[in-house]
């Protein structure tokens, strides 16, 4: 039987209360939402928090999915299943539905949350690549107030984020811009496993020219889950198969995969290039309205 180390349990009744509790309990306290990343690590005693602050009752404040001005807003406590079921998410950013369909399995998606996935900062996590491709902003709140951090600057390393111990992620804001399309491509060994590699792309077109592009990569050691050299090379280029492949090669060259039981380095690098090409191709087709 896997038994976590003892901890004290507190249940937050509001966002203010959660932040207050985190301040009182100190840096060894952790927020628990879905718990589907944290609890397995606690069972293996890879994580040993002194205290858990349960935020599951804060759905009214933290689980909304809505359009606010020119941004899609996804609450940190939104469940993966809610994102997958959301029509407004699919209408603006089909990349989320591509990714959510292959995150964990349907039962895990019922409880696991968007904010939990991002804050766990697993180097093979899918949504970090999605939000990085879309250049989303995370809204954080602590005792000192509210601040916004680009998801591209949220992760400082494996299992490590810029969140202070008393900060709570409130929501993700994804800028909505016209002329865009987005897609996510992943290879996994079986349902529920970590990806061998995955790539997300968002493309904004001016006619047949790539006006702007975002690329996110996961499980291949890409710094901040991004591929800035590939994005830079593709901006202003014609939206063709040749440009996509050239950018994807750059993305693969600049990432840093590790060999493990999911595959050797050269295979993962090959996947990084191939999946980036496929994601760019589908994102562009969607921007042109040629694909749902």
């Amino acid at each position: 039987m896997q038994v976590p180390a003892p901890f004290t349990y507190e249940r937050a009744t509001s966002v203010e209360h959660a932040i207050e509790l985190l301040g009182q309990l100190g840096p060894e306290a952790r927020v628990v939402a879905g718990g589907h990343s944290l609890i397995p690590m606690m069972k293996l005693r890879l994580a040993r928090p002194d205290a858990l602050v349960d935020i599951n009752d804060l759905g009214a404040e933290l689980a909304q999915i809505r359009v606010d001005g020119d941004a899609l807003v996804i609450g940190a406590l939104a469940r993966h299943a809610d994102v997958l079921a959301s029509a407004v998410v699919g209408e603006h950013f089909p990349i989320f539905h591509d990714a959510e369909r292959v995150i964990a399995d349907p039962v895990v998606r019922n409880f696991g949350t968007v904010g939990g996935s991002l804050c766990q900062a697993d180097p093979a996590e899918d949504l970090a690549a999605v939000f990085a491709a879309l250049d989303a902003v995370a809204v954080l709140r602590g005792a000192a107030g509210v601040r916004e951090v680009r998801v591209r600057e949220l992760h400082v390393g494996p299992y490590e984020t810029v969140l202070a111990p008393d900060e709570l992620m409130l929501e993700l804001r994804v800028p909505i811009r016209p002329g865009g399309g987005s897609a996510y491509e992943k290879v996994e060994r079986r349902v529920g496993d970590y990806p061998v590699a995955a790539a997300g792309a968002a493309v904004w077109l001016d006619g047949d020219t790539v006006r702007d592009v975002g690329i996110g990569l996961t499980a291949v050691g890409a710094e901040h889950f991004t591929a800035p050299a590939a994005e830079e090379a593709l901006r202003g280029q014609p939206a063709t198969e040749e440009s996509f492949q050239a950018a994807a090669r750059l993305a693969a060259e600049h990432c840093n995969p590790s060999a493990d039981q999911r595959g050797p380095v050269d295979y993962k690098r090959h996947l990084a290039a191939e999946l980036t090409t496929r994601a760019l191709r589908r994102a562009a087709a969607r921007a042109r309205g040629q694909e749902a």
Partner: protein, 168 residues
Amino acid sequence: MEVSININGTAETHDVEPRLLLVHFIREKAGLRGTHWGCDTSNCGTCVVWLDGKPVKSCTVFAAMADGHEVRTVEGLDQGGQLDPVQEGFMECHGLQCGFCTPGMLMTARALLDANPDPTDPEIREAISGQLCRCTGYENIVRSVRWAAEKEAGGPVTESETPVEAKA
């Protein structure tokens, strides 16, 4: 800490450690052994129960997190002694061999049919994709869920006499 969970309509209140997992609360504290405890790593899905109406893996939820909430287990599927159609379907279509994965499969199947009364076979397979049958009896599990869907729709129900092998 005192944790009170409404399980199948009955309040179960027990003094537990915060680190007690929901699956162990259900089995050891409430004495409901229908929910099985399997891999302990949220892979196998035999521990699936409903938490506030949605299937979750109860080995990956602390009992404390379910305090004040509603849980439904496999013991809560039948209505006054009348088996749920998914339970009947598993009987009719040989949906279980060793039976270890069955409680989780039944809970997920019930949730699927509540949300989608006429699922396709790929939709059934998708719904149970987070659950493992180590007898590898998936073909008959899918048939069992189809049987339940057809029964609930009032349409023609697969004959239980149909040899299982004939369709495999």
